[in-house]
Amino acid sequence: MSFLRLALAHFRVGAMNELQYRVNFFIQVVQALLALTTGLVGLWLVFSQTEDLAGWRPAELLAVMGVHILMGGVVQMFIQPNMTRLMEDVRKGTLDYALTKPADAQTMVSIREVRIWSMVDVLTGAIVLGVSVTQLEHRVGFGDAAGFAIALVLGAVMIYCFWLILTTGAFRLVNVENILELFSGIYQAGRWPVGIYPGWMRGGLTFLVPVAFAVTVPAESLTSRLTTGTLVTAVVFTAVLVGVTRIVWRIGLRHYTGASA
């Protein structure tokens, strides 16, 4: 319970902070619209040449795009800002402030920052998803919807783990801007179902950078392609990843020496 209260308090402070910068909201809207336009143009170009892409029909790919935008929004709202802050704190030595708090350190560094304007992306993704669902040839059943919700949460958790592992590894390696660049590049791959990529890339997009689990799997559920096996794999992989992340974080922390803030 105390975790929720803590997260909520941070969320409120972060929101009030960002609400001061209204222009950022405007910029975010413009960016979201431009990204949406580019995405739609891409889809339209593909489907002006062919009727289905590796078995995916237009409305189904629209669903993939919706999940991609939505998940991207979640990452930018909650995960990325916290990881950037963590990296900065390590560099400046100000991480000490988070570590000396009585709450669990991993929890603390993961909930400190919120970029509420990225809500725009979450909403855009949700709208695209809504539109795509009305265009689908079959009805989305209760099982599909439930699978979608579960897969979405699991996907977000996996991306969080992936980021925290990279950031912790980068305690002493590269600066976070490069990781950010790398992640946003690879994340773009999720705009299309991972099934279209050659085998070795599919492996990387599934288990190295969990784009497949975060985007394709939820979309598969909405379009009634999801098998129980995939969902079980996602659950198991998430559990393993959460455990590994915890261990990596502990090791990283042991090597951290405050640089006297």
Binding site: V23, L53, I179, E181, R191, W192
Partner: protein
Amino acid sequence: MTDMVRFYLGWGRLAILEQLQYRVANYFYMIGMIAEPVIYLVVWRTVAEARGGVVGGFAADELAAYYVVWTLVRNMNIVLTPHAWEDRIRSGELAVDLLRPVHPLHRDLAYFAGWKVVAILMWLPIAAVLTWVFRPALDPTVTQIALFAVALWGGFLIRFFALWTLGLITFWTTRVQALFEMYFTAELLLSGRLVPLSLMPDWVQTVAGLLPFKWAFQFPIETLIGRLGTGEILRGIGMQALWTVIGLGATAVVWRRSLRRFTAVGG
């Protein structure tokens, strides 16, 4: 004149030495960038296969050639971001630059040109890997390679002047980000970066021919992958020269006006 040559060589060499030190950072950046063309390539190869092998006049291995050369052209296209001006003005860096006897444009141009030498060197292994993985249909003649080298730097110049001028808008308003984003979106769609323009409707291709974007991006790619005759290539290089001159002119005019709006605080 010889002073200017020495100035350019000096800054160019400095950029090369500096960037060679940041090999890992440069590679991270380049690898992140490569995801983009690889995604396009996979999507369009899938489409080509669904259509029986060809899409927009491109066979699968020709698409591969397009997007492999894409990676080099994209690297050459990276110039001073227009966002840099915000920082230069706010930090007072510009005030210091203005005290120097040489126009700041020269330093930027020399520095980025030097960096490009490093980018090309570092691109070679990436190209080798991409070629091995995607098997592009690349078999340029010596003439094509020579003309490609010219077109590549032509593209660099067009984009350098365009973005330098675009960045100067920062002197008038601080809310430039949305504007820049619009510019980059138009560029993405109309330069051949998202897809070869032959996949676009005819009217888009007509519009694209009248704008500079395509000449900085798709044109250099096409010179190397053998889709243009020598005559077309020479005409294209003419277009590049035209857009470079236009860009240079715009830079000169806007720069003089923006300086009038500049007041330094501290520095």
